[in-house]
Symmetry: D2
Subunit: 457 residues, 4 copies
């Protein structure tokens, strides 16, 4: 069955048919298509474009198709062109020729735009839930580690001591932005395109607001040409997803790094590792590696659709069919990655002793040495220079700051007093970072409190 063909003298070439049909992937939209059709046919009845009897009959038929597909009593014909054609075919089986009236005042152009908007809206809601779940996991682990001091890194070099809780809360706020962006994208998704028909609107006396209300949309697309050609809402979703995938890849990369024997900061639960077919000792953080890698496909999907849309004239072009697989794959990938990261974070054990040990080398409190001198009145640049010389001296002697005597400190600057020792302890350094957003325990507790509020709202 095809929804067109009156003017054609022959059937499509088999290869052409295979190449152009979308059922293999757009069947995922069956539910959305039926929901949209039910709202549409109710409106046609409401507006007297169809008789009440026709509308009721078609709606009942659509419900039976929905139920049949759900129960498996009805199945899609794998050879069909697309989900719209296929649902109509099944509807005809249920209600006969009156099914043909469903397409009144509607085209596949506005119909697919509707299906996609319903799908994206649903996925946004789902992803927002999954981001919140990951955030909750991060907060919970952070709360357990308000006393755990570890090296903060820049350039992958030990930089300054920070709380593990502080580090984890950085991810909380990264993910919060992802959740916020999705919420804003949703506003632009939440408009109903029906009524645009092929591109110019329709001459049937329809009421698109009725449909919009049925489907819970916030409003109508303002311009019918734009309504059928617009895929911004997918692009924006893919872009938001790509930024989220960056964050997930970063968290994943740190899990990989921290799981190495060299770092040893984290030990993943056995349920979240896999082994090797040849090396019996291996505990591989595969889920984290894959989360890191899968960011690539999310980027690729974005690049795909940007390239597809570039330079396309208005209004609908068949190129737009290429939006679906990129969309589905991105939604699935980010959803799974969020859940995997949540599972890993929740079940991981952090080796706080290794973290503490890691602070004894690499001079992560050297900034405190410079700051000490600045408080004593030296310009920062000069203080920084002296601290650098002390590091160089310790490296040569293969000792840490804590092994320097006060005399040795004073040999570099007369400003050093006894209290230098405490100031360069990791705990002392952390406690001192009291600027808002800083790593001192009260500041981190503030962040957690703020996070709790964001999760509740």
């Amino acid at each position: 069955m095809r929804l067109w063909g009156g003017r054609f003298s022959k059937d499509p070439d088999q290869l052409a048919h295979e190449f152009t049909r979308s059922l293999p992937f757009d069947q995922r939209l069956a539910e959305h298509d039926i929901a949209g059709s039910i709202a549409h046919v109710r409106m046609l009845g409401h507006c007297a474009v169809l008789t009440p009897g026709e509308a009721r009959k078609i709606e009942a038929g659509l419900e039976r198709v929905r139920a049949g597909l759900s129960s498996g009593e009805l199945t899609l014909d794998p050879e069909s062109e697309d989900i719209h054609t296929e649902i109509e075919r099944l509807l005809i089986e249920q209600v006969g020729a009156v099914a043909g009236k469903l397409h009144t005042a509607r085209s596949r152009n506005d119909q697919i735009a509707l299906d996609l908007r319903l799908f994206v809206r649903e996925e946004i809601d789902s992803l927002r839930d999954h981001t919140a779940a990951l955030q909750r996991a991060l907060v919970e682990v952070a709360e357990k580690h308000l006393d755990t001091v570890m090296p903060g890194y820049t350039h992958l070099q030990r930089a300054q001591p920070v709380l593990l809780a502080h580090h984890l809360m950085a991810y909380f706020f990264m993910v919060q932005r992802d959740r916020d962006r999705l919420a804003e994208c949703r506003k632009r998704v939440d408009l109903c395109p029906l009524g645009a028909a092929a591109l110019a609107g329709t001459s049937f006396p329809i009421d698109p607001s009725f449909v919009a209300k049925q489907l819970g949309f916030d409003g109508l697309c303002p311009n019918s040409i734009d309504a059928v050609s617009d895929r911004d809402f997918i692009l924006e979703f893919l872009a938001d997803a790509a930024i989220a995938a960056v964050h997930l890849s970063q968290l994943a990369a740190e899990i990989v790094l921290w799981s190495s024997t060299e770092f040893g900061f984290v030990r993943l639960d056995d349920a979240w590792c896999t082994g090797s077919s040849i090396m019996p000792q291996k505990r591989n953080p595969d889920g984290a590696e894959l989360t890191r890698g899968k960011a690539g496909r999310v980027f690729g999907n974005l690049m795909n659709l940007l390239s597809v849309l570039k330079g396309l004239p208005l209004a609908y072009n068949r190129d737009l069919q290429e939006d679906k697989e990129a969309l589905f794959d991105t939604a699935d990938t980010v959803s799974a990655s969020l859940r995997v990261m949540r599972g890993m974070v929740t079940t991981a054990s952090f080796d706080t002793q290794r973290m503490a040990d890691a602070l004894s080398a690499g001079f992560p409190t050297a900034t405190g040495v410079a700051d000490y001198l600045v408080r004593a009145g030296l310009p920062f640049r000069e203080a920084h220079g002296i601290a650098g010389q002390i590091v160089q001296y310790c490296e040569k002697e293969k000792i840490g700051f804590e092994q320097l005597s006060v005399e040795e400190w004073r040999s570099f600057s007369a400003e050093f007093g006894e209290d230098i020792v405490k100031r360069i302890s990791p705990g002392g350094a952390v406690a001192g970072k009291v600027s808002p957003g800083g790593t001192a325990p009260p500041q981190v507790k503030d962040q957690i409190a703020r996070a709790r509020k964001l999760l509740e709202s």
Copy 2:
């Protein structure tokens, strides 16, 4: 001059220096860096980290550096490492060693984050102005063409008659989404990262809110580790710009198409064409071609930064330096493309006769034939089939709908009456599309009224 080096036994290799320094491009941030430093030093004075005299002296010096760079009295040393180092060098020339105190409680990590946020905020405001200017141009041309009927296209095939005004308003609403997205991105840009220092916060008793207020920020970054590593605000800006570039490329591609002799719908003003060095007859729409092409670089810049950030561990890594050129290039490209499109649209002449002529071939009112039969009670699918047969017949006879007699119409379906003739005229077809957002003149006027309101708000 370098801001570090106390522990180093030798200078960087010349190649290493060339490879890592950023002055050749980050000099663009000189103004932002000075503005940030002035706010910072005022705060240091306010919080008594510096004496009032020190703070005043440094601020005055910074003002002199700003004035000197602006007037050309001072020049940047092209060999310097980055703009922060270079501003500090110039400041030392002005005020001596006290300049070193400017870096108290600040690192280049939070400083560059601040500079970039100031820059992006400024660019967002500028791009929002340029999008509004393009929108105004579109509305003005649309208002002149409320009577101009042209073929609307799908698949680049003539589909249905639409108003030129309707077509142009589609672009209005596309660009409106760009403007809205930028406004939402701005909220996430508008947070002050200062106080994060290297990554952990600072132990000096500073007041970051004071700085934020001075610089007009809406709030503070909530987590210092995130504050120095976050480049989401650039990613989001690049993504918003990429979607805007898609729209511009589409408008540009239509201008190229419509400027062809084959379409002939538009004639660009001589001031917006260029000629050929070898073909004297050429009037090439180079500005439109380049706008179309330049979307590629905007996509590339987004892909660049996504790849850079993927899998980076916290906090600052030098890879982040790669954010700047992509950012600058995207801001400049989209800004120029918006202005070029505005210039072209404003000065172009639309050939309304060619548009009208184009409606006489290709059967763009065939949908109306089907709709006619549907109103007479036929299911849409059957009506569609009959209309397809009439098209096939006319094509064989090489005639248009308007040359069919009523008898001929009736030979396809007894439902056709005398009024079919009027219904398949382009004007009649357009007038009938009264659904909201449709192409009937009152609907398009509604869109224009809505647009005017959006521009005023």
Copy 3:
């Protein structure tokens, strides 16, 4: 069944299992995996690592698995981790515990590298056939149109008359480069990685050359660490495919353009068009639109894998699993696009009259006017200026060159003689372009002859 787990205290989390397993897509490599295993086990027998009996038994079992999967008697367990595990499970069913010996001196790391190389080699051969088929179609149509003159375009403006054959042959040579690149890529694919085992090589006395010979490889991977981590051969394949996709998108875009009523240069066969569900007159070039659009996914797949591989440390990381779907999708997409373009080109009708008519407007022979004056001794720049003025005059008078009298020609330059009329005819212009590679019929015939030779070799 899992190929690891001795040291694990619990099973993987169900979500972790779903997330990490690859069977849903790597089952496509079943044939390649079995072929590789057969070669491997023969070698193990040949080298006496296994007894002749063991080797024979395993090989026979593998053959039965192959036959069983092919006939449908055996089916893959959809819950299995990957194709290697699954083939081994089926093998155990056939031959019992001896199956475990198949994995001697081999790891999944070198095994998957082998499977992928076999797959890519096969796909290259197939794509090279399909490119040749498209080239053949182009040559055949070109040969029919050695007399068809049409406008050549630059900037989508009519530039100079060219032969349709010449235009089509441009695509021939573009595709030829694709075919050449694939051949060169094949050389780098055609190396056997077996023997690398996990990454370090193996201590079993194996003979990788024996395996390589069995599988028709040209040589061995030179370094075992590189052998398991190298995915260059996929990257290069994806990049070659992306360039090919650019060419296909360009050909497709021209088919879309030429199918428009405005251009009207080509009419696709009914078997290669699709209609509209709402607009009965439509004949949409969907196959061409999709080919154009599908370039986006090919680019996206490339970007995906580049991002995945960036910054990965040696040797194998699980991120590499992300190579497969991108590879499969690209191979399928480019293969189908090549076949679709071939089908369209072969069956299309070119409207030579429309092409001829298109030469009567737009002054595509103006370059000839300038060249005429240059031959008479004027510097090109001056000649170009005069020709430009004549165009401007004709545009104002709304006439073509052919309507100018000799007196009018001479009013612009005394150098014009009677022969100018012939020189500015499209046929005359084409005939004159005798430079190698030019559009004069003998030159185009030379190109066709060269093309025939390339196809034969």
Copy 4:
């Protein structure tokens, strides 16, 4: 000065001029443009299109322009449209109106194609030199470390002991493929497009082979339409560069990782590190981080040009102007990254003690335990399981394999003999991996010998 304008009634808008002109970046092609023009004018003289005197005069003028630009006596007018226009303007200053004859039988379309081919050819030669230099550095360091055993990693987990030399040689062979790909790309670059003129060829009796020979080209572009629109050679160069950038990013990422205190495998020379403006202890591997990050821009440039070219109709479109900045930036980035990596590798110190120590934890010789049992006749799967249990036991006891008594070994399997102790030493494990390409010293020496040969050829 503009090379066109005869038919135009006004000058371009200033914004249009700014937007479309390319001199700010194509000035980099000045040398190539002059070289091409000299070859062209010689040919025009040789073919008697110009008189010998004219040709000599123009050539001499071009030589003076070249010399003048090189010495700084002549400068480019920054307001000029492009490098071709600007060179012609300077030529007119030198030789007067005869300069206008240089453009005979040539268009900017074939001229820019020529300039770009000359540029890319040169860059390929230069990059091939730089890749060879990096390879030489790798071989030299490898030769020094034929005795250095370190952990090989998979999944960033210690996997099996390998030689540092073996690890470095993996990079050698990766880079070798880059060098090979560039050589093959060069063949497609090395064709002369001159004679194609605007797109159709030229009617002047020219000899393009003469030009090709002058400029050292291997042949002529076979089709003039393709000659002016083809940018494959840039795409392929960008793709080859992207793969090379992947390799460089991987090497760089390992340097970053190995420079961490946790790994501590390498210490970069002071000349190749940079410090922190705030943290005096820092020695940051900035050059490596930037090399890793800069892969992003190389990917972005490729994505840029792919997007630009997608769907462009033949022949020249102004969009093509966007090829240059992407090309220049990629060539510069990869060149600098290669040189930086070479500098870092050459001067780095490898901490062989840390590497050795790293082998004492993480059970990297567990595969050898399994292999031991396989040799004793157990199927691999069973052997693997036993080895896994031993690892689990040792982990629980917090001991290494070397601390197990033979009795303990035997408690897991009766097959273990006294020699197990030697077999699971790192040195023993490495020595055993004698398969071709494996990590045993003789195999690695073979690789080095092969590498030396490749470098000599």
